[in-house]
Each structure stands twice: as C-alpha cells, then as structure tokens.
C-alpha cells in the first residue's frame, strides 16, 4: 500500500519507553497505555491531521497530539469499533488502541479532518 508516500512527514515513533522490559510488560494492564506498547504519534495541527493515512502494527497505540492552538476531538464510528473522545485542549494527548481493521478517524469540531487508520 502506497501510504507512506502520501504522508507530509513520517509518523513519529516513540519506542524508548518500551525498553523498560519485562517488568513493564508484566504491569502493562495496570499502566497507562503509553507504557504498554509502541506509540505511533499523529499530530493535529492547523485543524488537520499531519498524515492522511496510517498503518498500525498489532499492539501499537496511536497517540493523538494536539499541537494546535484550538480545541480538538476525535471519534471513530464503525460496526467493529467505536471511540469518542472528550474535547482535547491544546497540548493534550489522546491514546487509542485500534483493533484490526480499517477505520476513519474524524473530529466533531473540524468536520474536514479525516485520518484513515489501517490496523493489523
């Protein structure tokens, strides 16, 4: 799938946290999502997602970073997976773990925002 070429800039991966190792893995169910698996960052800026399409590996978590000066929100509506975040103030993050499938991520505040997530 030729998704990478369409990205204005590559998604930022934050794998450092995972080096905590076996202890983190054992505690994963009790820790915040960010510590439990790899992170794939999506930046919300200028009332848009910085990527239009995203591939997510199994177990990977997508972190939505509001780098905008405005309020954001994200939601997913599909038969297999629904997600509805609270409003996201500037500088705030939202972590989402997607099940396998293809999903449209939208913003109720900015109806033109669209991100397609392909989760394996």
């Amino acid at each position: 799938m030729a998704t990478i070429a369409a990205r204005p800039s590559p998604p930022r991966r934050a794998r450092g946290a995972i080096t905590v190792g076996v202890l983190a893995a054992a505690l994963a169910p009790h820790l915040p999502l960010a510590w439990a698996a790899d992170l794939l960052e999506v930046v919300q800026k200028n009332r848009a997602f910085h990527v239009r399409e995203l591939e997510v590996a199994r177990g990977e978590i997508v972190r939505f970073i509001n780098a905008d000066e405005f309020l954001h929100q994200i939601y997913v509506k599909s038969p297999d997976f629904s997600f509805e975040s609270d409003e996201q103030a500037p500088g705030k993050n939202i972590d989402v773990k997607f099940p396998a499938g293809t999903f449209e991520v939208r913003c109720r505040i900015h109806p033109k925002m669209l991100l397609v997530v392909h989760a394996k």
């Binding site: 998704t3 405005f70 309020l71 409003e87 103030a89 939208r106 109720r108 900015h110 109806p111 669209l114």
Partner: protein
C-alpha cells in the same frame, strides 16, 4: 490511495457547511437533511391566569436522507390540553411530512440554501386537541449562514450563525361548511370554517462556544460550557389576505443547546410574542439523535448515491 480518495468523498456529514457544524434547533426547522430521530416536550399556558389552558406537546419525528441532498422528515405530536374544570383533552395532532432539498452549499462562506414542501395531513389528529380537518401544503425556503468568514477584527463574532425559513401555508379547503343540529331544539344550522393562507417564518440566531474554541481562540472554557450554543429563536405565523379571525401568532425562544457526540439537547423558554400566542412563559426541551449513535453506520448514509463531495 484509492481507499483514501473514496473516504474523503464521504467526509461531508449532515449539518456541516465548511467548518461549521450547525446544531439542531428546538423550535424552528433547520435547513439540513439528516438521518436522525428527534423528540421534544413543550409546555405553554394560554388564557387568563384563573382559567388558563395548559398545553403540553410531546413531539417526535424521523429524518432520512434519500440522496445526499434530498431528505424526508416525518413528524407528529401527542397533545394534552388541561383546561381545568372542563376536563382534559388528549390526542395526536395531525401528522406532517416534509421533503427537503439542499439546493446550494458554499463552504467558504458557510452558507446553505434549501427548498422544501411540507404536507400536513388533515384529520389524522384529534379534533379535541385542535387538529384541523383540512390538509395543508407549505412550500418553504430554508437557509443557514455561519459567520466564520468575518475579518480578523471581528473574529469573536465568527461563532455566530443564523438559520431560518420562510414558507407559505396553503390549506386544501380555504372554506369548509358543516351542518350542525342543535340537540335541544333540533334546529339545523350551517357552520362555515375559514382557514386562510398563512405566511410562516422562523429564525435562529446562535453563538457556538465549540466553534469559538475550535476555530477562533481557545479560551479554556470547562468542557460542559464549551459544548453549549446559546441561541434565540423566533417563530411567526400570520394570515395573508382576509384573516377570518385567525390571529397572528409568534414565539420568541431564548435558550441553550448542549452538543456532545453528535447528539443535540436543547432547552428554551417560550415567550409569547402576541396575546393570541399565549399568556405565560412556557418551555421546550428537545433531543436530536443521529442514527449512527444507536444504529449501524449504514443507517446514516443516503439511500441512493454517496455523500456529497
């Protein structure tokens, strides 16, 4: 990339023009077609305080898009009139269907123009609660305009938007005669009911705090407050030509709409604008729920064709 291109065509949702997401207004019809269900309860008191009639309306309806821009709206209401010593009256009001078409949309200027025609089915409601026996047709023009295109110097007015409608209600039978027999004397008389044509209009002026924080400036409002849209609505109906005693009625309705997850909950005070419209302040509470909030996503798509580009 084929998948993305196809999905981006589906980006436009109902109630959206450009960056503007219009909420569903409780008192006046809005210019959009949608896939949604709605319900409301309204209460208004009419007449002198010592012998006032309390009217309570339980409204309900369904909206379904046939194409991306053509929609059908079916609605009705169950009414309760409580005149006090004379006993209460209950029953359905006439059912009504509206076919609406979104004629013109301009995203940069957040402007929408729609046309529609409503049909009130006379005799489907109970005469005891005032449902008319005569059907009527109302061709209507609807519009919506957001002010997101105002210059920077007026940026705090960008959350303002106005929606409205102007229609002309034409009864099937402007004049209807019935023979009445006096039970005591047996005398028969002819009663003639006149139903004049009416000009109907409604406007909603709203200020979206969500638009303010999402498109103008984040001001740190608490979540609950940030989901509110203060608004004032005005609704009028006036006979054209000879009125035959049909009064001009009007309601001024200031209130708030709370929007979350696509669901709009509105509350408004109902202030009679004329003496014939009521004598006390009433209220309305309404709930507007898109189908995708409780049904599979397929129910929220037009029956024919895709979403508009």
């Amino acid at each position: 990339m084929v998948a993305v291109a196809a999905l981006q065509g589906a980006c436009a949702a109902p109630y959206v023009v450009g960056d503007r997401v219009f909420p569903a207004t409780p008192t006046t019809d809005y210019p959009f077609v949608a896939d949604a269900a709605y319900a409301s309860v309204a209460r208004l008191r009419q007449g002198a305080p010592d012998r006032a009639t309390r009217e309570t309306d339980f409204g309900f309806g369904l909206e379904k898009r046939i194409t991306a821009d053509l929609g059908l709206d079916l609605d009705g209401a169950y009414k309760r009139l409580a005149p006090g010593a004379d006993g209460n009256a209950y029953g359905f009001d006439n059912f009504e269907a509206t076919l609406k078409y979104q004629l013109f949309l301009n995203d940069p200027h957040e402007f929408l123009l729609s046309i529609g025609v409503s049909r009130e089915f006379g005799g489907t409601g109970a005469a005891g609660v005032g449902a008319e026996a005569v059907s009527a047709t109302t061709p209507t023009v609807y519009f919506g305009k957001g002010f997101g295109d105002l210059p920077d110097g007026l940026k705090y007015l960008r959350p303002l938007a106005i929606t409205g409608l102007i229609g002309y209600r034409i009864p099937d039978q402007p004049q209807r005669s019935t023979t009445v027999t006096d039970a005591a004397t047996g005398a028969r008389s002819l009663e003639i009911d006149h139903t004049p044509n009416q000009l109907v209009a409604g406007f909603a002026l709203e200020y979206s705090l969500r638009y303010l924080q999402g498109n103008v400036a984040y001001v740190g409002l608490p979540s609950f407050i940030g989901r509110l849209t203060p608004l004032v609505e005005v609704k009028l109906a006036t006979p054209t030509g000879t009125s035959f005693g049909t009064p001009t009625t009007g309601i001024i309705a200031p209130g708030l709409i709370y929007s979350q997850n696509g669901i709009d909950f509105g509350v408004e005070a109902l202030i009679p604008a004329t003496r014939q419209s009521g004598t006390n302040v009433g209220f309305i509470a309404s709930l507007h729920i898109p189908f995708d909030a409780f049904l599979p996503a397929v129910a929220s798509k037009p029956l024919f064709g895709g979403e508009r580009p």
